[in-house]
Amino acid sequence: MSVKKEHELIVSVSPHVRSEETTSRIMWTVSLALLPAALAGIYFFGLKALFITALCIVSSVVSERFYLKIVGKKSVVGDGSAFLTGLLLGMNMPASLWSFSPFTAHVPVIASFVAIVITKQLFGGLGFNVFNPALIGRAFALISWPKAMTIWNEPAAAFLAMDAKTTATPLGILKEEGVTRLIEVFGDKINLYTHLLTGNRAGSIGETSAVAILIGGLFLLYRGYITWHIPVSFLGTAAVIAWVFGGKGALFTGDPIVHLISGGMMLGAWFMATDYVTSPSIRKGQIIFGIGCGFLTMLIRLKGGYPEGVMFAILIMNCFAPLIDRGVRSRVFGAVKQVKAKENRK
């Protein structure tokens, strides 16, 4: 979507609102909001995290540029959407991918290609993609290289360290060994919460620091780039289900806080599910979308084969988004009911 000059615009009947908003402005603001979480990831996982994120951004931008050149479209790289997709994809990758024996540094490059070319450009470019490009890129990488994508580094002590101990993510421990073991690993409950909040734990680069993500999310909310409907209904549904069914044995004994601030829940709810293009555009539909995401996430976390379900939950709800929009759209004022219109046509 390029910015048109004023005299090229088609003007409809008044009233009008004058606005400075453009696609590129939105994209760069969202990237800015992601910065705290990305910096936290780089702080905890060191230079490797920086390399992986940069690799994703560069290969996304290059894929977009190349594709547009080959099909002869006008270059829209400057609008920042490829940069944002690359950044989000990089923040969803484990830092351990930056390794050369075994060689896995090609994974981010191929994932970026899938995200930009197959998920976005083949559908007709920004604004028409059905699925969130960054999430398809990550899902594709996870299915294709299941081992490389699930090696999690412990937050490194030294910033420059290239070697890191591997460990399980908190959700992995929760799935395999239960909540008592999880608290044991981190010392006590307070310690567990602070580690999860600050991001000092194993996980993907940008998903670990709940506080940094929250700062970015609230910034977007304050600026009016996202509305509360999707994040609140997403997190609320997940918290209720975690509280009711998350415990061992008895109902209402689960710990919703651990589920909310671990895994990709925060990043997913604030930055992935709220993508304009792939979520419903009507408020009522957004709440349905958020509830669906929360429900599916917890279903996969508690009953499924994967320890983490945020990515799949959002992707599955992406499939339903056009249908939700269809279902909740309001009738055009004064329009004849569809059934009657059909009969008239006959």
Partner: protein, 197 residues
């Protein structure tokens, strides 16, 4: 009693969502791509398909358990089931021509093609193989029908949205439908390991 009820519910859920025939086993794709261009035909096909599926599953179950098993001719099940399905499809073909001629002409060749659909043959075969009871067979058939309906309706809503998109010329139409199906299947892998029957 409640245990049996949960089993039935799990069967429906498993057949419709978790082991969705279209997105996890890639069966029945011919009709799936054929009629998912428009929402109207997708809905019509879903209803017809589920109805034919449930009746054929029930009839196959009765014939399999009361005729074929006692006579020890279960090796003929593929041919017998195809016969049952073909008869049913012919019947629904005639009924629909009388009741909803508009939809009948829109569905066109695909209505007759239900008889060679993989899902509609797979369901009685799975029912026979797993030795499901009549209720379980019906639940499985219902779940599969709902799953196929869900796949068709999601796909129709996405394809109607794509009508407006600037898809590159070589990918217009069917190629794009294949890519969308692949991506939906990628999303549905998240369900793997959820219910193991």
């Amino acid at each position: 009693m409640s245990n049996e009820f949960i089993k039935l519910f799990e069967l429906i859920l498993s057949a419709s969502l978790i082991n969705n025939f279209v997105f996890t086993r890639f069966l029945g794709l011919c009709i799936f791509f054929g009629v998912s261009k428009k929402m109207e035909t997708a809905v019509g096909m879903s209803i017809t398909f589920t109805a034919v599926m449930m009746i054929s599953a029930a009839m196959s179950w009765v014939i399999f358990n009361f005729i074929m098993v006692p006579l020890d001719i279960t090796f003929l099940k593929i041919i017998v089931f195809i016969g049952i399905i073909a008869g049913l499809v012919q019947a629904s073909d005639t009924i629909m021509r009388k009741i909803t001629p508009g939809l009948y002409y829109k569905l066109g060749i695909y209505l007759a093609l239900i008889s060679t659909n993989c899902i509609i043959l797979a369901v009685p075969l799975v029912n026979a193989g797993e030795k499901y009871s009549l209720l379980e067979s019906l639940a499985f058939a219902f779940g599969s029908g709902i799953g196929f309906a869900l796949a068709l309706i999601i796909m129709a809503s996405i394809r109607e949205k794509l009508e407006l998109a600037d898809v590159p010329a070589p990918f217009k139409g069917l190629p794009m439908a294949f890519i969308v199906t692949g991506l939906i299947a990628l999303a549905f892998t998240g369900f793997s390991g959820l219910i193991t029957l």
